[in-house]
Symmetry: C2
Subunit: 443 residues, 2 copies
């Protein structure tokens, strides 16, 4: 994204007040509203005309500054010399952990001079946020992509998966992927399908509060992720986040079974329809019995990590709701769609013909439930049976989001209808089970 | 729906075996698969060629019976004379409760001769399932509509709301609406907006297991609903269901705050971002402090229950996901849409132009979060701020489903843009709050 160079009223006001980023300023809008806080630097994501203030509560607000806005310097930020921080020399006796940066709140690096949170551009900034990680592992780090996680597309998943495979082939014992939390579940599922045989753990980790806020979970989560990558005998893609709102315990979630269930709580991530693979408590990793073990490189063809990166993007997702028009379905179904039905997997009967039309032209329609917990069962009621007759495939106890990623991945691997269907009905990497444990509800 | 009269291979097999509904039969399919169970009667929802068996586990399965299928009678159902059941004469000293049937699992009536579960056609069948309700209230009953809840549309919401208002005007103290669970939350939200001033409780109630299964929750839920309708000082639309998987406690959920969170558990319904309005334990109704009180008919204009039934159906719902195409948005947005965004309320930036196009042509775009728990906050990150600039309205801590119903309702009441926006930003019937209690997560 190119840096903007337009000069706006905002820039003039800042110049007139002699303010620079980091200074405390007061803004009085034409309607009399007063805002006070630290002036934040302009970065590539900023809108040209918007002035960004960091309020005392830690949040940033963006202000439009129409004609008549006043801006005063309250207190200039005292000049502080920032010690140059450098990564310690790696301890080669420790297991090697590769950190692959992708952006997101956890990768936001606090500039203590300006108080600004901005993305960690240098690879080692990530690890430097939590110096203790250098006592756990021999850290290598690299920024793969740098973006808000809501902007991630299959292309980025492929880039990340390729870097993960390469890292293991270059001797890493585990990989840590700091990631924005918005779509971390989708990326985790994608990596799980792309990399089904792993020589070590691949740990996605995020933060719900950026590291300039006292309540930040960034440091604890990153440290836990490095510990799991360095020590756990786990050949899976997992998500590691707070398990409780306090700092007592972290949960290790299977990548294809995890969902962000709260907009802001630190324990937002939950394993759905499957217990977590383990926990981390008092720096101790406790794994459950049902994990997938590692597959050493020596047991794999040519000593390579097998990767299956192709994805077919002609897949959509449609939530069912009372007024869902048949046209909505016909308009957005290309090669396949995930229906997020009601209850056991239903849609209004007036949509049946549209669904039949889609399957008749070769599209794959997979049914999941908007309840999220539980499993689809289309044999109980007549609507479900009619959907099966219309060619709809049951998503069993799969999350809608995982089903979406799986369908893209399956269509990326094969276009043979029998094979596509067989794959959709098969549990490939732990994404669905024949029976769901009822005890995993809202845990 | 017209009864089908086509004779199929299935009918011939049944005739040859001399079987009638209720008999135990064995079906051997051409591939050797054997199914044994009770032959179920054909009803209007059945597919003509499909034979329906009730298995010993209580579930029904539909079987296709291709050429070569064998069907044997295992044991004819012994003839049992079923005593004619009649509703007891109403006790006029008890408070009057109007039951309005709509269909769904709870309204399924067990024919003990055939073992078949079929919809309660007569009004009193519903109440007769739980004879104790006649000791709690003077029961009136009426079937308003008879359908699977996934087929309910705004037209049915309007019919039900009108009947509710009439019931109060005819002297009911409370109203009970047995309803299919699939879309019970949507209907509850719709009634809450349509009937904002109620002289008594309107209680939607469902069952997750039909009444022919030992684990059925139908009786306990219906009885609780009648008790609340007859006694609670509550001027709101609520949903009453099991609060735990055992039979200890039921929860009273605010209609605009409730969601079906499990496909099959009896405690599937949860209040989201708001504590339940109360509980029912040991036949005792315990109400919280934050309920809306009743508005007696005497205080309302002309002694009528005010109803605002108009709904605009040109509203859609779109879940954001990594591959969401801008075209998907342009194709399905008519007068308004609910975006079910990621995290604090985000969509991929590549969709911004499509959203701008929608708002520019006058469509209303409301942002909610697919996390479900928590609240949207579009001031924290640049993507959110850009969405606000694109004209997107924050849904705050509203459920996506409630936001969908609200937008339909608001557009039904007014087309004036300022008034629409004001209504969307205003808490009308408890559907959103300025602050969300963090403690309501996964409770």
């Amino acid at each position: 994204m190119a840096e903007t160079t337009t000069t706006t009223l905002k820039d003039e006001l800042i110049d007139q007040a002699g303010a620079t980023p980091g200074d405390r300023i007061r803004v009085v809008l034409p309607d009399g509203t007063v805002h006070e806080g630290r002036l934040m630097p302009t970065h590539s994501f900023s809108r040209p005309g918007t002035l960004v203030l960091k309020l005392d509560n830690g949040y940033n607000i963006g202000l439009n500054t129409p004609e008549g806005t006043k801006l005063d310097l309250v207190a200039p930020e005292p000049a502080v010399s920032v010690p140059e921080r450098k990564a310690p020399k790696g301890d080669k006796t420790l297991p090697t952990v590769q950190i692959l940066g992708t952006g997101g709140t956890i990768a936001s690096y606090v500039d203590y001079r300006t108080g600004a949170v901005h993305p960690a551009k240098r690879a080692e900034d990530l690890a430097l946020m939590v110096p203790e990680v250098f006592d756990i592992a021999n850290i290598r780090s690299k920024v793969v992509v740098e973006m808000f996680s809501e902007d991630m597309q299959p292309t980025e998943w492929q880039q990340i998966a390729e870097e993960v495979a390469k890292a293991f082939e270059a001797g890493a014992r585990g990989v840590v992927i700091p990631h924005g939390t918005d779509t971390m579940g989708y990326t985790a599922a994608a990596l799980a399908f792309m990399l089904p045989q792993l020589p070590g753990p691949v740990v996605l980790v995020g933060a719900q509060r950026s590291s300039d806020r006292p309540s930040s979970d960034a440091a604890m989560n990153l440290k836990a992720a490095v510990r799991i990558a360095a020590t756990a005998h786990l050949g899976e893609v997992v998500v590691v986040m707070h398990d409780e709102s306090d700092d007592t315990r972290l949960a290790i979630h299977r990548g294809v079974r995890v969902r962000k269930m709260h907009t802001s709580r630190r324990d937002a991530f939950r394993s759905i329809n499957h217990p977590p693979l383990g926990y981390l408590e008092d720096d101790e990793v406790l794994l459950a019995a049902h994990i997938r073990p590692t597959t050493p490189l020596s047991e794999q063809k040519d000593g390579k990590v097998p990767r299956f990166l192709a994805m077919d993007e002609e897949v959509s997702m449609i939530q069912s709701y009372p007024g869902l028009w048949p046209d909505h379905i016909l308009d957005v179904v290309k090669k396949g769609t995930i229906l997020v039905g009601t209850g056991l997997g239903h849609v209004a009967r007036r949509c049946l013909d549209a669904i039949r039309e889609c399957t008749a032209r070769g599209a794959y329609v997979v049914m999941t439930s908007q309840c999220l917990y539980g499993r689809t069962n289309m044999h109980v009621y007549a609507t479900g049976r009619d959907l099966i007759h219309a060619g709809v495939i049951s998503g069993e106890d799969m999350l809608p989001e995982t089903a979406y990623v799986k369908l893209m991945w399956v269509l990326g691997q094969t276009q043979d209808p029998d094979e596509v269907r067989r794959n959709l009905h098969t549990n490939l990497v732990g994404e669905m089970d024949e029976r769901t444990e009822m005890t995993t509800y809202l845990e």
